[in-house]
């Protein structure tokens, strides 16, 4: 792929754009607040990708490299400095009120209907999107890369320049929060 791109193969580039462009916009939206800015970031990313093809060393996958460029563009967009990544807190991810004093469930999760049902998945999509959009910034970035894009832990760490341990805690908190929003959307606890 990279050889084709370097040789100026338009079809290869078109495939790459078709695969990633709207995903880059989605990812950029975890950094910038509006759609137009996210589109600009994605555009900038492609310009940097095209200009940097000769420098791509293949130490990471092409996708990881592109997302990394996107993260860097998004951070510097509008002159915004890289914020320090907040250290992941170790607050509980399930409300303490759902356990009794000995730490056993007092309000346990009600099993959900199977999400393998296509209809369920479609019905859940807006709920999931909203839940992800409401996550704190870096949690949302980690969840987007890991669970929406399917990047490995190592790739997500490379893209976001965070440690593996921090990535895992952010993923843990993000997933727990999305689960809890789904639970809320699917019906009241114990109801």
């Amino acid at each position: 792929m990279i050889q084709l791109l370097r040789s100026g193969d338009e079809d290869a580039f078109t495939r790459l754009v078709e695969q990633h462009h709207t995903r880059l916009i989605r990812f950029a939206l975890t950094f910038v607040s509006n759609r137009a800015a996210a589109e600009d970031v994605a555009q900038d990313t492609w310009a940097a990708v095209v200009a940097g093809l000769g420098r791509f060393e293949g130490r990471s996958s092409l996708r990881t490299w592109i997302f990394q460029i996107c993260a860097n563009r998004a951070r510097t967009f509008g002159g915004r400095e890289r914020r320090t990544v907040p250290l992941a807190s170790d607050e509980p991810t399930v409300e303490a009120t759902r356990f009794n004093s000995s730490g056993a469930w007092s309000a346990p999760p009600e099993p959900w209907p199977s999400v393998d049902d296509r209809l369920d998945a479609e019905a859940l999509a807006p709920l999931v999107r909203t839940a992800i959009d409401q996550l704190p910034e870096v949690q949302r970035q980690v969840v987007t890369l890991r669970d929406l894009e399917g990047l490995s832990a190592q790739e997500a760490c490379e893209v976001l320049s965070i440690s593996e341990a921090n990535q895992r805690v952010l993923l843990h908190r993000g997933r727990a929060r999305v689960r809890s929003e789904l639970e809320r959307g699917l019906g009241p606890v114990g109801g």
Binding site: T22, T93, W105, P109, A121, R129, A153, H172
Partner: protein, 85 residues
Amino acid sequence: MIFLTRDLVCQQAVELVTDYLEGKLSWRQRRRFEAHLRGCPNCRAYLEQIRQTITVMGRVEPETLAPQARDDLIDLFRRYRGDRS
């Protein structure tokens, strides 16, 4: 830090699900976690919901690419190609 000599309680177990799914528990921790799951349908339900959450998130499709955006980017690539030759 988890006590190695005591059984997990649910409130501790739910905080281990990601480490478990990521394969980051030591074998000892994993054994304790799995022993807890065997005896606890509520934590099994919780773990299953986390798995379902991951599945559902994996199905969130990106929007479709607008033809105009695609064409603009191809133009960008052509300009780059033109600059080099």
